[in-house]
Symmetry: D2
Subunit: 398 residues, 4 copies
């Protein structure tokens, strides 16, 4: 059983660390710490083995995956240089399978990274059909049993007029008519689900979160999910906010300040591209608390940090007898080390869903996302519970 993994943004940090990590896990030189699917009860499911994943993808820049991994290693220690060495040839093989994608409507800063490589001038129908061809050639060439498409490309500026693509018909007409407003992430997502490939959106870009794409996915019985993997500050937020809610402590303000130094930081330093990110990091608070509160998320680019991200959150709250109190935290994480195992988890879990006939958005994957496209709650513990319940549905009773 070979499962193909098509990464949009395959030469970025998250992709590179995911690929290096998958190869390292497969060859037994690293542990599975950080992978949710390595833990019970998920580890008891019939998931594709990490060993059986075949990687490929789109990117728009020429820096190779190994180069990205080495730069990440130098700037933040992840992956360790020795691990890169051990899997170098495997990773180079993946690199040879990367196709040039499109940077349409990805913003100026992404355009700069592309250095003119990316297809932006072709018509939209041509772009979509090129993407489709890339997917299908890969499946054919490697004789894959299934292909999962996963978006880890740079965050795009938000798509404004989403209502115009609320149905499959509207979306397909827009593509047909070369609608120049459609962003790359939508084209990749549409191409995936229309071909029957499960799709995961690891980023805050639109991707499959558009009426038209959702309808095509449902029509084709394809599972998909997004948006924006929950790896750092927001993860902590979704663990902590339920404490305030459950104890009826009133959050007066929640200030978050993120500093990070990798390419993702550089892209998010651009106000347009940042817009989507901040929105997605900020939404869950109100839902968990049940009221609106003063909240702000700053993301600043601090090159010296490399792939290491630090977040400081300052939570000012009120308790009994009007007493004001505070919780502050700092989170010092390696973005890619946090993201990469989730990439592998999501690939394995959406493949499992697909194999078992689940289709449309996948609420059991809500814990993985800052803005889950379908969910019951933003409360992290309860989201984990939902995932465990999904697993138990597929497990023999014990």
């Amino acid at each position: 059983m070979k499962t193909g993994v098509w990464l949009i943004g395959a030469r970025g940090n998250v992709a590179a660390v995911s690929i290096v990590g998958a190869k390292a896990v497969a060859s037994g030189i690293t542990e599975t710490t950080g992978m949710v699917t390595a833990r019970e009860p998920l580890s008891d499911l019939a998931l594709p083995e990490v060993d059986d994943l075949v990687f490929a993808g789109h990117d728009i820049r020429s820096q190779s995956i190994v180069e990205t991994a080495e730069a990440a290693s130098a700037s933040g220690g992840v992956p360790p240089q020795s691990t890169i060495e051990a899997v170098r040839s495997d990773v180079e093989a993946v690199d040879s399978r990367i196709k040039t994608g499109t940077a349409i409507n990805c913003g100026q800063v992404v355009g700069d990274i592309a250095e003119g490589n990316a297809a932006v001038n072709q018509t939209v129908p041509d772009l979509v059909s090129a993407i489709r061809d890339d997917y299908e050639s890969f499946v054919a060439e490697h004789d894959l049993d299934r292909l999962v498409v996963l978006n880890v490309a740079s965050t795009e500026p938000p798509l404004e007029n989403t209502d115009a693509y609320a149905t499959a018909d509207e979306l397909e007409a827009a593509i047909e008519n070369d609608d120049r407003a459609l962003p790359a992430s939508v084209l990749y997502a549409y191409a995936a689900v229309s071909e029957g490939h499960p799709y995961i959106n690891f980023t805050p870009s639109t991707g499959s979160d558009l009426g038209g794409v959702r309808e095509v996915a449902r029509r084709n019985d394809v599972p998909h999910m997004g948006q924006d993997a929950k790896t750092g500050e927001t993860l902590v937020k979704s663990a902590l906010a339920p404490m305030f809610a459950g104890r009826n402590l009133r959050v007066l303000s929640w200030e978050g300040h993120n500093i990070l130094g990798n390419t993702d930081g550089l892209v998010l330093d651009d106000e347009a591209n940042k817009a989507g990110k901040v929105k997605s990091k900020d939404g869950l608070l109100e839902e968990i608390l049940g009221y609106e509160t003063q909240s702000r998320v700053r993301i600043d680019y601090t090159p010296s940090l490399g792939d290491r991200k630090t977040a400081w959150d300052h939570i000012h709250f009120k308790g009994f007898l009007g007493t004001e109190m505070k919780l502050q935290f700092t989170w010092e994480g390696s973005d890619s080390a946090l993201a990469a195992p989730l990439v592998l988890d999501l690939v394995r879990l959406v493949a499992h869903a697909d194999a078992n006939g689940e289709s449309g958005v996948q609420p059991q994957l809500a814990s993985f996302f800052k803005s889950p496209m379908a969910y019951e709650t933003h409360d992290l513990s309860q989201q984990f519970e939902q995932l465990r319940e999904y697993a138990h549905t597929y497990l023999p009773e014990t």
Copy 2:
């Protein structure tokens, strides 16, 4: 419907702020922020009104409740001076109902606070019968429909040989034979449940967590619960630790440092009395994570902080590809402001349980305690869920 609330340690900080707070809530001059029972779905239950609570209790020192409240106000701003003024005469009425308790086996530092007031030289059977009389006179005098006994006295040194009191028979024989090892908290708890009064242990002292007391409670159909209210650092721990577990991130060490300046801090500065506290703050980590990890809880006495407690926690963890990361938090809370609303919640909820024929330890109250005597999980969100489920059992479907 009048519900009596008998507080062991009625002149302490937590008690004083609970009483002042209850009076302030009853008279509408403060909000119910911080009270779990003021939130849906609990607020829909038929709970005793805060207005209908009648307070009394035991203590061993002579400082009055108002004096304690004023000292707390001066040193930490809680309760506000204006609130104390507004309810002064109500609180003085409570003070006139305080009886002198016993400080037997409460350690040197508590003995010092007692200044010779507390009964320690009487025989154990005499102590128990005096306590019983105090409870029953209060019920009679105020024509109470129900009496809840709640322990907010200073933390005792742990009782060593708990096996010797594993059954009702053993415990009752020990009392009868004037066993000088029994600590005050057990005598208060036994007196309560043997008289049919629901009992809550807000502290890490033994209280009802003894085979013999549990058996008497079951025999008499009395609900009870403990130990050690979860108000600060441990509360945060139980919200955060599930995040590490759920994401398969390996906690390498979890260091906690608490500094606090109130009488509780002074008592906990004594190594013997601290022993029970640290144990109770430390236990839940292993259960949530599923493995043992290096963990430490320091409690230091810093008088300048008054009733304000600051905790610093440093969590060192490992993720994918061996990557080491960190989460640190500081918690700056007012101990009493956090504790007092929970005192009111627990009184109301255990009264509800009693009214509805629930008996023995009450797992639905697990979220309130660092070391719940009965529980399914230490995961805070799931404990909240359990409490909501309890509520829904008693609520008409909607």
Copy 3:
């Protein structure tokens, strides 16, 4: 010996707390903690007594000083309500001496605060002569021995073309010709020094930091100093940065994030007004370190904090063998409580300088300012040393 203190922005937070504080010190109900002049060796100088200070000033809004103090007390506990009560009538007397100032070129947000009260439409020469009259009437009416003018008004947007006012002649011609670019702070400062009154600029606004004003001050033998009192994050910066320099540790990045909730915060939330502030907070790092480093200062408005400001600084540095390390700090201060004693110190010290024939910018006051107009170093300890040396010049040898 009566010393007049004319505060520009006399109804703001800093002014209100300074006035309330001075009255409280004078009447012995509060200590002098926080006042540099209350410490040896400065306390040995022949400084005007706090008791002998007579306050008045300009403002543009109608909220009274007591109202400002009460709002500050409610939102941040400073000054304590009881202190306000004790000095209320004294403070009301000051309020009756407040004159309406001008808000010319103070930006939109200050204009909003003025609610049309402030003079903006008069000609510049008229504005200057009105200000002069206000100063002189106050001196005459109260028979003052000396008048110190101190600017604690809202931060203005920076004045762009400072070169146009590099000499006294240019500046005076501009005033004469009704140059509409001159901001309020320059008019107040010019009016002060041209009348022979020592002047202090507590804010980042231009004030006396303009060639023309400096020349007039020198010509008239008037001491003056600024800019922007060093009270919080920058104070800590100037204490810490020399450590990195002295140990040859390389600062890779220094990120600062300030959140604050008072009117100052609201004004600084405006990008134009913020510009001056951020510049002044940021400059000293390079001077102390001796090289340029990545540094950023964020100021965000968080109303829930009231007058309490929290700053988080994250310092990433490199040591021996390329080792990367970190220092992080959080500073939780009351802005006005930090600023007010310095207002009193500066008044007393500039009066002393004036009495002793010192004129022009006053380098011995450098420790008080983020951007001292004359200084040898930004190193806080060395700035303190300079102030001690100044004192020793005037003290008999011991």
Copy 4:
């Protein structure tokens, strides 16, 4: 000009990183960041070149320097593995010159590390003469122009009765009479200064801080200095405390909590050995502030951190109008990376002092120590100033 460097504790972390670092600096593969002597004006002095330092020393354990460096590299990343590789043979040459020292009165935990290797049963006069022989053979064999002895051995428990060794005569009589109370550090220090070798005590152990040793040093015109290098939390303390003093802000409490995971941490986990350390970390606050304040320094052993030390300090202070405020900091440093460059600095600077006829304790080196044996102030900036002044004495005026 060859300068010998004799390290007591030559196989420990600090020693190993110093030796590796010196070799790396000498061969140009690393920068001199972190070395105070690499900065102006010190870099203008005629100091021994790092290239010309010849290392040797005593230790009591068998683990080689390279093994220590590799363990440090694995647990904390310092020194980088590639650096160790580059200088491996040089370092192995140093290792071959290590002699077995004595562990007399170094406490149980050090005894355990020694595994029976260290001389403890010989008489004191024999121990001293063996140490002397080790020094002199090294000088002779390598034809050294000067030998500097520097103590980087584990911290000993404090020597109790220091008065008994207040003079050279008393000390020498005690040695002669085989006084079994004398600790190893004193023997090493006495042997050094009595042979005319400059001596530096990098640790809190007694070393040369004993009347008798001081007298011998003066008699022999030998410069020496100590104690306890100021590298982490205390360094920051000495930079920050002057800010509170200078601004007349009252420190109400200063709590420090250090967690560290290397062998030093293990040794300090022993209460006896910790005693000296805590004392030395704690002393400077009172001197800088001018009054006693509640202060505490916790040191806890957290193996997961390896050579990385984290300190959290919580400073509670009071300002104007009784306002309570806070400064908190966390310091995340690599102990050895901070210490090693100072070892090289101190060797170079004490050699310079010796070459220039300076003798006895060296106050210009105060900035390097937590408890300088001679000093004017604990204020870090002023200590730096003193060092600069020393340099300027030896530099041509410019």
